[in-house]
Symmetry: C2
Subunit: 353 residues, 2 copies
DNA sequence: TTGAAAGCGCTAACAT
DNA sequence: ATGTTAGCGCTTTCAA
């Protein structure tokens, strides 16, 4: 660590380089108007003296306001994206110290149009940095293209698209999460002939299924470890409770004995509600994400395990590294940051915040 | 949030209260030499205007150096306490921005004398704040007593003793971790008649076993769920490999078929080594803590699961809240902070850092 | 008990 | 292209 007693100031540098504070500052911020010669000398001295600018003095002097905008899907209370929002709020607290403001711009994840609008809104008044949780590949590509042109740095949150201008990505390893989920569901147990995978019936549109990779991981595990087990897909519409019950009655509910059920999105609580209402207690149920309703199902024993991630922390990390970049030009250590996958059950969920 | 555009400065307060900046500052820091009248007026104005001092300006002006000392057990590379040390180093990075230095003072956890020395060293030159990971109740009590007298705030890390002057405690819920461990070991599986608990043969001395509560949690779970299962204790000396093998040969190794083995400290890798060497592959083994060696055992499949905690993060949190306290007199939100318990297996351990 | 004033290290406008 | 200077908001002497 070269932090100890870092008492080298911009004045020391100026003196040693035989120039004025002003020139050093210009070099520090690449704001031009400096001769090549001076610049080199200053840089050399900075290196030699191990000068590190005092962030506070800097912040204090340049009363600049910076804004980070975060483009994420809109949500109902208790839904997945509310966790991200919470993280963004926590992060806002932290970086407010540095005069950085956080703003979230929301879009309807089921409408490209809405996403496009959100992007336009951002471009109308470009902020210092952007965080985006993308759903539409094509459209996102256009968006980040415009950001690049405008010189606005951006990072991906939760999922990323095929692009290479991004500063960093923060998300879960999706494929592996499916693999892990399969192990938790089955590992070391008597596995029934059939396993139920409950899925959301997706609309037409170019909307890519965000859990596709996760499902692939799950399927690969099953193929590798239990090739003879049959995987039954049950498609439901999350908004139509009656239909869900009908569907489940015809499938999971129609069978006797130990049944295995999984869901790859955050809505396993829908299944939990059904099982509770029907008084079915001999299912092994595994799902994703630590929504309040899912945790309740864990506590009551209806759901045995949840694969979760600290979505909020992920958001905090993203904001922090964007702040570091904005404040000190410090690029992130790792470009692709995979968050840890947590296994929750009724015995540890209460300590998961 | 009242952070937005908090442009109220000490000057505004001074003007509004009809006094000078100096007086406001004196009130702000309770440094006396202010008439009751002025003080009240200033406080009222501060309240009314919602004045919040600018931390940077403050830090910049008062070139104070602060020191937080951390008293923790010494360790070999790769051992449990190295994780804490890593966290302390990370934290040091963060708070160095605020002119706070971190120093660790180590002691031999198997020697009261050594702990006493460490404490004396701290008291010789009392720092601004202290973090202590206590092993000896009595001695710790004396130590924190002296800290209190000297007006030095302190927090407990990892474990805490029966005292009530501490500012905060950061640690794992030990009893519950034992309960959780038992569930992971057994839950939903065919449990053998006998379960092996491998323990460290503790020396005489007043040294309290730090895993006692954890063992209690484990035993209670077993009693509640599998009252007929016999728990066999196997005592080993971690430093004597040959003796360990002999002991294990006589117990775990002497049996056939699926055997369940647990250890309540971080040394399950000792068992893993034995099993690997002996070519025993049909044990279900669960342990604690994410030491590099334990993770390897997880990857190789010798150990099935680990209950872990982010010891490093815990240290970071402790340092941060001590820093908050020192810098802004902000007490911690929660006094007792229980860190989350993570379940690791071969599929998610690689994402655990 | 109080006010005035000189910094802390850096930025940015203004001269030169 | 470069130096000078007046702050940023707060702390801390030093006088009064």
């Amino acid at each position: 660590m070269n932090n100890e007693g870092n008492k080298v100031t911009i004045n020391d540098v100026a003196k040693a380089a035989g120039v004025s504070k002003g020139t050093v500052d210009r070099v520090l911020h690449n704001r031009g108007e400096v001769s090549r010669k001076s610049k080199e000398k200053v840089l050399k001295v900075i290196e030699e003296l191990g000068f590190r600018p005092n962030l506070y003095a800097s912040l204090l002097a340049s009363q600049k306001e910076r804004l980070i905008q975060c483009v994420i899907p809109e949500f109902q209370p208790g839904e997945f994206w509310s966790l991200t929002e919470k993280g963004l709020q926590d992060a806002a607290q932290l970086v407010s110290r540095y005069g950085i403001r956080i703003e979230t711009v929301k879009y309807d994840q089921y409408s490209v149009e809405s996403f496009r609008n959100a992007c336009s809104k951002v471009m109308d008044n470009p902020p210092s940095g952007v965080l985006v949780a993308p759903m539409y590949g094509e459209e996102t590509l256009k968006f980040v293209g415009r950001l690049s042109e405008a010189g606005v740095p951006y990072m991906f949150l939760d999922s990323k698209i095929d692009d290479d201008g991004y500063l960093a990505y923060f998300g879960m390893p999706m494929y592996q999460s499916g693999y892990l989920c399969a192990d938790i569901l089955t590992g070391g147990r008597d596995v029934p002939e059939k396993v139920y995978v409950v899925r959301i019936a997706r609309d037409k549109m170019g909307l890519s299924d965000p859990t596709a990779a996760r499902r692939a991981g799950f399927m690969d595990f099953m193929k590798g470890h239990y090739p003879d087990v049959q995987i039954d897909n049950v498609f439901i519409d999350p908004k139509d409770k009656a239909a869900i019950y009908t569907k489940l009655d015809q499938t999971v509910g129609a069978e006797k004995g130990k049944r295995f059920v999984v869901m790859f999105n955050s809505r396993i609580h829908l299944v939990a509600d059904y099982l509770t209402d029907r008084g079915i207690h001999d299912c092994r149920v595994v799902g994703f994400d630590c929504l309040e309703k899912n945790i309740e199902a864990l506590r009551s024993g209806t759901v045995q395990a949840l694969v979760a991630q600290h979505t909020d922390r992920q958001a905090v990390e993203a904001v922090n590294s964007m702040a570091d970049y904005l404040l000190m030009g410090k690029s992130v250590a790792k470009r692709d940051n995979f968050i840890q996958m947590d296994i929750l059950n009724m015995y540890n969920c209460d300590y998961y915040l």
